[in-house]
Each structure stands twice: as structure tokens, then as C-alpha cells.
């Protein structure tokens, strides 16, 4: 809508589209919930075999070394074919962090299994007492000799119960002031003795998250990333990218299409009152596309978005919620059906995406926390 492919980009898009259409199994398309590893990882490995699993990684580490535009084209084409979301903590978080901050040994050990789809990673940041106030985290890692001993608990760990490794923020200096100055960044093997993992079922019926307990878990000192007590900086270094990722307009476009299908099926599309709200929603999606494209342009110019990334997250996730409100409205008295609703235009899942999107304004920094960030760091309002 706002961006046109260069000839090279168009060729890449066309190749990607053809290949994805031919290779993505039908059973994996258009799923509202993320399929379990047994279903999902073969597809991960298929993409990996093609060399397309990590568009944004440098080629030397098994990535495509793609431009940002190519990465977006890939995301658009994956969305277009209805591809399921892949486990992203390895590809999008610890991968880039190790590439930037890891030792040669850490890179050599951990990067290839991510590319190959052999190791699934989990992120260990949040704790029961440290959600919005992440700096107050209490999981302790005590260094003695050549190993840390980790004691504590992480929560809201995406796919924790399917994961093999975790990168975590742990407290290594309990007396540090400010508190985030006593936090280190550690890699933990989840098969270590003393680790217990409990999946958490969500209101949408999936088990995307888990709790992870550490009871005197031994971690080799070589698993420290960066320097001791420098974990806060490392974890935050690439956050802008994450916010850009969670606000990918593809989710909104899919939601918009789902609304249209449902409204066509129930006949409410003929009501101009509904159409007015659909028009407003569609204009909102157009604005999100513009905002995203604007952010991509600036990122392409190597200008950091800084705290402005927060407004993309706020706008994108709140728009996604209002889209799902409209989906509920379109469904009428089918709004509360647990399973996809059969219509003349195919099955439409109403309640799952509606319930799933509750979490979008909470995790990755709630809308309230994002607004605090913007107020202080962008608008310079007083504390």
C-alpha cells in the first residue's frame, strides 16, 4: 500500500510465495493457536533446510542476511499463506543477543541448533513478584568457583514446557542500587537437575506459557553472557525490535479479513451501522501499516526508534483488541462458541482470537507501562 517492491524484491517475493504454497502443509495453515512442537517443528526444519528460517541473521551464522525489506516480504508471504507462528525466542531474541554479545564459544555452541530447529529456547524474565516492575526480580544466581547456583522462579515463560534452554535475567548482586545494576544474563539448560516446569493454561485454551522453578540449579560460569551484573543492558539492547515484531500489521490484516468473512456469513455486513465501524477499523489498520512502514524506514536508516517503539506496541495491540471486539459483534449470538463456527464462507474461529488478544496489551510490557515510558522518555513529562 505504501511501499513498492524493487525488481529484486519482487522476484524474491514471487519465489517465496511459490515455494511456501508448495511446501507449507495444509494442516498448518490458518491455525489460531500455535501447533504443538511435534506438528510445528518439522515445518521449522523445512524452512531451515531451504535456508529461510532466519532472514535477519547474518549469513555466517546460518541466516539469510536479508535486508529489512526482504524480512518484511518474508513475513508478509508467511502471513498470506496462513503459516503458523514459529517459536521465536531463539530466532528473534537469544540469537541476535548472542551474535552481538556472546563469546565465540557461546555462538558456536548455541547458534547452529537454533537454525537447525534442534533446540527451542525460552525467555526467563518475568517473575511472580516482578512483572511490570521487572527490575525487582528475585531469582538468585550465586557464583562460586566455576559455577552459578540458581534459586528462584520464572513465570509467563512462552513455551517453557516445550523448551530445552532458557536465557534468563538473574540477580547476582542483591545489594546493588539501582536494583537493575545487580542483574546478570544467564543461559540455563532446562534439563538440569532442580528445574521444574509447569504449563499454564490460558483463557483461550492454549498453553503458551509456563512457570519454571529453579531449586539449586547448577549453571557453568561460562553460561554468563556479557559481564557480571550487566544483564539489564543486554536484555534491553534489542527491545525495540521486539516491539516492532509484536505489532506486525499482518495480525491486524488477518483479523480484518476474519471480521469480513464473519459479517458476510451472519449478514451484518449489510448493515451500514456495522459498516461504519468496519470502515473505522479498516482505516485504523491502514494507519498501523503506515506507522509500521514509517518505523521500518527509520530502522533502515539505522536510526533507532528509541522509546517511540512503545507507541507502535500500544497502537497495534489496542487496535487488535478493537478488531476482535468487532469480530465478536459480527458473530452475533455465535460470539461465545468455543469452536470455529461453520459458515457458508468457511469456518471462522471467533472466541479463540478474541480471548488470545487479551494478552497482547499485557505481555511484553503492558499498555500502562508503555504509556509511562512514552510520558517520561518521549514527552519528557516530570516524574
Amino acid at each position: 500500500m505504501f511501499r513498492h517492491d524493487s525488481p529484486e524484491e519482487a522476484a524474491f517475493r514471487s519465489a517465496a510465495r511459490t515455494w511456501l504454497e508448495a511446501n507449507l502443509p495444509m494442516a498448518l495453515r490458518g491455525r489460531t493457536n500455535r501447533p504443538p512442537p511435534a506438528e510445528l517443528m518439522p515445518w521449522y526444519r523445512t524452512l531451515s533446510g531451504k535456508g529461510w528460517i532466519a532472514p535477519h541473521w547474518p549469513k555466517e551464522y546460518g541466516g539469510m542476511g536479508a535486508t529489512l525489506n526482504e524480512q518484511i516480504i518474508m513475513a508478509e508471504e508467511l502471513a498470506r499463506v496462513g503459516a503458523p507462528q514459529l517459536p521465536a525466542q531463539g530466532l528473534n531474541h537469544i540469537g541476535p543477543i548472542l551474535i552481538e554479545f556472546g563469546t565465540a564459544a557461546q555462538k558456536a555452541k548455541h547458534l547452529p541448533p537454533i537454525i537447525a530447529g534442534e533446540v527451542i529456547w525460552a525467555q526467563g524474565y518475568s517473575e511472580p513478584g516482578a512483572g511490570s516492575d521487572l527490575a525487582s526480580l528475585a531469582t538468585r544466581a550465586t557464583l562460586a568457583g566455576d559455577r552459578f547456583t540458581v534459586q528462584g522462579q520464572k513465570i509467563w515463560t512462552t513455551w517453557g514446557h516445550h523448551s530445552h534452554w532458557m536465557f534468563a535475567l538473574v540477580r547476582t548482586d542483591p545489594r546493588a542500587e539501582p536494583r537493575h545494576a545487580g542483574i546478570s544474563f544467564l543461559l540455563l539448560d532446562l534439563h538440569s537437575p532442580g528445574v521444574t516446569i509447569r504449563p499454564i493454561r490460558t483463557i483461550a485454551g492454549d498453553d503458551e506459557f509456563s512457570e519454571v522453578f529453579f531449586d539449586n540449579v547448577a549453571v557453568p560460569a561460562e553460561n554468563l553472557v556479557g559481564k557480571l551484573n550487566d544483564g539489564w543492558r543486554i536484555a534491553n539492547a534489542l527491545l525495540g525490535h521486539e516491539r516492532l515484531g509484536t505489532s506486525n500489521p499482518q495480525f491486524a490484516l488477518i483479523a480484518l479479513e476474519r471480521i469480513k468473512t464473519m459479517a458476510r456469513a451472519t449478514g451484518v455486513l449489510a448493515d451500514p451501522g456495522f459498516r461504519d465501524r468496519l470502515a473505522a477499523a479498516s482505516i485504523g489498520v491502514t494507519a498501523l501499516l503506515a506507522l509500521f512502514n514509517h518505523a521500518v524506514e527509520l530502522t533502515n536508516l539505522q536510526r533507532s526508534l528509541g522509546p517511540d517503539a512503545s507507541i507502535i506496541k500500544i497502537y497495534g495491540t489496542e487496535l487488535l483488541q478493537s478488531l476482535n471486539d468487532l469480530l465478536l459483534e459480527a458473530a452475533g449470538s455465535d460470539a461465545a462458541m468455543a469452536n470455529p463456527v461453520a459458515t457458508n464462507f468457511g469456518e471462522v474461529d471467533v472466541s479463540t482470537p478474541f480471548l488470545q488478544v487479551r494478552r497482547a496489551t499485557i505481555y511484553g510490557g503492558s499498555s500502562e507501562i508503555q504509556r509511562n515510558i512514552v510520558a517520561r522518555r518521549v514527552l519528557n513529562l516530570p516524574q
Binding site: S136, W156, T266, D325, L328, G332, S351, R358, T361, I362
Partner: protein, 364 residues
């Protein structure tokens, strides 16, 4: 704001609160996905307490109470996520008690021994409830109904109250579940109960005549259903906000209870305002209207407001809970799911506003 109640009404509310406290989220969770998804003995208990016949005139052995009493009980039912379909049963009993001689099912329905539920809706958006497409053919003796009803809370129902176009226009009929030509196809909701599509093929039915004060039996039951659903939605809002305000007082972040943060306080106030304005609207309507002849403009208005506000409130309550709020383990999500169901039945908020524009003459 406090309601102005008689001492009898206060006793009734306290009794309903006690019944409701014995239910609650944990019980609602346990009943999810079962068929029926409630305890038949608890429905009978509600019958013994007189609630199922509360609107039934005393001449027909009911309590002959009004909409205020109905609302008080159903608000508590919503607040405690009670699974027993007290509201549907009570309004069905009220309908069965119409006419000169009450319908033979009335006594069992009032006692909670046989569940009768309305089956009035014909499309996902409600359409015009006063102009059903279901046909009642009168072959001289027994009316026979043909048509389809959707989104029927059929779980455990022994029979249905069905609106259909009869020889003299739209009328209300009673059809037993096991009558020939009745087909019930149910699918699960997020909330734990199932909603059914009812297919009627020349199903034999009894006509249920209107009460003298009503405009028609179909209209009376429709408006009653809208008020009953609104009362339960109010209770859902009330229960959700209680849970949430308590959480705001105890959960700490940044060394302070999160309820001390002004942005969250203001969100809490917005929740409270939605709940209280819905409460005032509901109980003012209840006090001013005969259960058998509710001003349709008001019935539609309160269902529109309660449906919209209950969804907004329960969503905001999840947001205020943070991550714990979107887990199935925590109770707050159950309130959202109950709101999703009740707000969608008999026409969601937008469908009510469409009807409202017509009834209130906004186009003129």
C-alpha cells in the same frame, strides 16, 4: 449506589446471595462442558425457594412478585457465576402462567423439576423477534411448528417456548423436547454450557396464550428475556469488579499496591461507573414496569447497555489483573466468558441499538 429496597426484598437478595455464594467460580469451572452443565438438585432448590415462580401470579400458585425481585435474584446469580438457568426457567414459568388456565407444565417448571427454556431467536443477530419465520400450521387440532431456532440454552431442557407465525399472527407455543419433529444440535461455548440449534419439522405444539395485560405473549417473553439477561449481566459486572478491586488493593509492584496508581484508579472508576449506571437503569426499569408488559424501548435499552458494558468491564478487569488475568487458573476470565455468552443472546448490543432506533422512532 445503594438500592431502595423493602425489607422483604432485602431478605430475598440476601437469600439469593447465599445461594450464589455456594456456587462461585470454582463450581462454574467444575461444570464446564458437562451436559447439562448444572446441578438439577440446585434448580429444584431454586424452585423450592419460590424463585422459579416468582413472577407467576398468586392465582397460579406463584409468588406474584415483580421485576425488582427477579433482578435481585438474577444479579446474585450473575455475580456468583451460578450455572443453574434460573432466569430462563423463571421467565418461562411466567410465560406458561399466561392465559386463563396455566399450561400443564407450569407446576413442574415452577418446582424446578422440568426445565423449560425460551427458543425465540432465529438468526445470529436476532432479527425482529416479533416477526418469527417459524411457521405454525393449524391442521384443525394441534398446531404444528416448522422452522429453526438458534442459540438455544437447551441443556437439560424438557421443553421449549417457541415463537412462531400462527394463523392469527405471531404467537407463543410450547413444544416438548421429545416431541416428534424436534431435533436439537448442540455445540459448546467458551463459558461451559452448550448452545443448540433447534430444528422443528411439523412438531406438535400447544399454544400459550398471552396474559391480558400483555401486548402479545411473544413480546412479553422477549422483553422479559432482555431484562433477565441484563440483570445477570449486571451481576457478572458486579462480581468481576469486586474481584478486581480486591486485587488492586493487595497486588504490589514498584513497592506499592497497584491500586494506588492513578491511571489504574481511574480505570477502576470507569468500571464502577459502567456497573452503577447499568444498575440504576435496570432497577428503575424494574420498579416502573409490569413483568408482563415492559416498555420495549426500555427492555432493548437496558440489554444494549448491559451487553456493551459487561464486555467492556470484564475486559478491563482482565487488563487490571495483568498476566494472571489471562490464565485459565484465575477466575476473572470466567466472568468475561459469561459476559460473552449473555451479551450475545437475544441480540447483542448492536442488534439492540438497531431495534431501539426503530422503537424509539429515531428515524422520524
Amino acid at each position: 449506589m445503594e438500592l431502595h429496597l423493602t425489607s422483604e426484598q432485602t431478605l430475598l437478595r440476601d437469600s439469593a446471595a447465599k445461594f450464589s455464594a455456594a456456587a462461585g467460580p470454582q463450581v462454574a469451572r467444575a461444570w464446564r462442558g458437562r451436559e447439562p452443565n448444572f446441578a438439577p438438585e440446585r434448580l429444584r432448590e431454586a424452585g423450592e425457594l419460590g424463585w422459579l415462580g416468582m413472577l407467576v401470579p398468586s392465582a397460579a400458585d406463584g409468588l406474584g412478585l415483580g421485576l425488582t425481585e427477579l433482578a435481585l435474584v438474577l444479579e446474585q446469580a450473575g455475580r456468583g457465576l451460578v450455572c443453574e438457568p434460573i432466569g430462563l426457567a423463571a421467565i418461562a414459568a411466567a410465560a406458561l402462567a399466561q392465559g386463563r388456565a396455566p399450561h400443564p407444565m407450569l407446576q413442574r417448571a415452577m418446582r424446578g423439576e422440568a426445565l423449560v427454556v425460551p427458543a425465540m431467536q432465529e438468526s445470529a443477530h436476532g432479527g425482529d423477534p416479533l416477526a418469527p419465520a417459524t411457521r405454525a400450521a393449524d391442521n384443525g387440532r394441534t398446531p404444528r411448528l416448522t422452522g429453526t431456532k438458534v442459540s438455544v440454552c437447551a441443556g437439560g431442557a424438557a421443553g421449549f417456548l417457541i415463537s412462531a407465525a400462527g394463523p392469527d399472527g405471531p404467537a407463543l407455543y410450547y413444544v416438548p423436547r421429545d416431541a416428534p419433529g424436534v431435533h436439537v444440535a448442540a455445540a459448546p461455548t467458551v463459558e461451559g454450557r452448550k448452545l443448540a440449534t433447534l430444528t422443528l419439522e411439523a412438531a406438535p405444539a400447544d399454544i400459550v396464550p398471552p396474559r391480558r395485560s400483555s401486548r402479545s405473549a411473544v413480546e412479553a417473553l422477549t422483553d422479559l428475556a432482555l431484562v433477565a439477561l441484563s440483570a445477570e449481566l449486571l451481576g457478572v459486572m458486579q462480581g468481576a469488579q469486586e474481584l478486581t478491586f480486591a486485587y488492586l488493593r493487595i497486588r504490589k509492584q514498584f513497592g506499592k499496591p497497584i491500586g494506588s496508581f492513578q491511571a489504574l484508579q481511574h480505570k477502576a472508576v470507569d468500571i464502577y461507573i459502567k456497573t452503577e449506571t447499568t444498575r440504576s437503569l435496570l432497577y428503575q426499569i424494574a420498579a416502573a414496569n409490569d413483568p408482563y408488559r415492559i416498555d420495549p424501548e426500555l427492555a432493548v435499552a437496558v440489554k444494549a447497555k448491559a451487553s456493551e458494558d459487561a464486555l467492556a468491564v470484564t475486559q478491563a478487569c482482565i487488563q487490571l489483573h495483568g498476566a494472571i488475568g489471562f490464565t485459565d487458573e484465575h477466575d476473572i476470565g470466567l466472568y468475561l466468558k459469561r459476559a460473552m455468552l449473555l451479551s450475545s443472546l437475544f441480540g447483542n448490543a448492536a442488534a439492540q441499538r438497531r431495534r431501539y432506533a426503530g422503537i424509539a422512532g429515531l428515524a422520524m
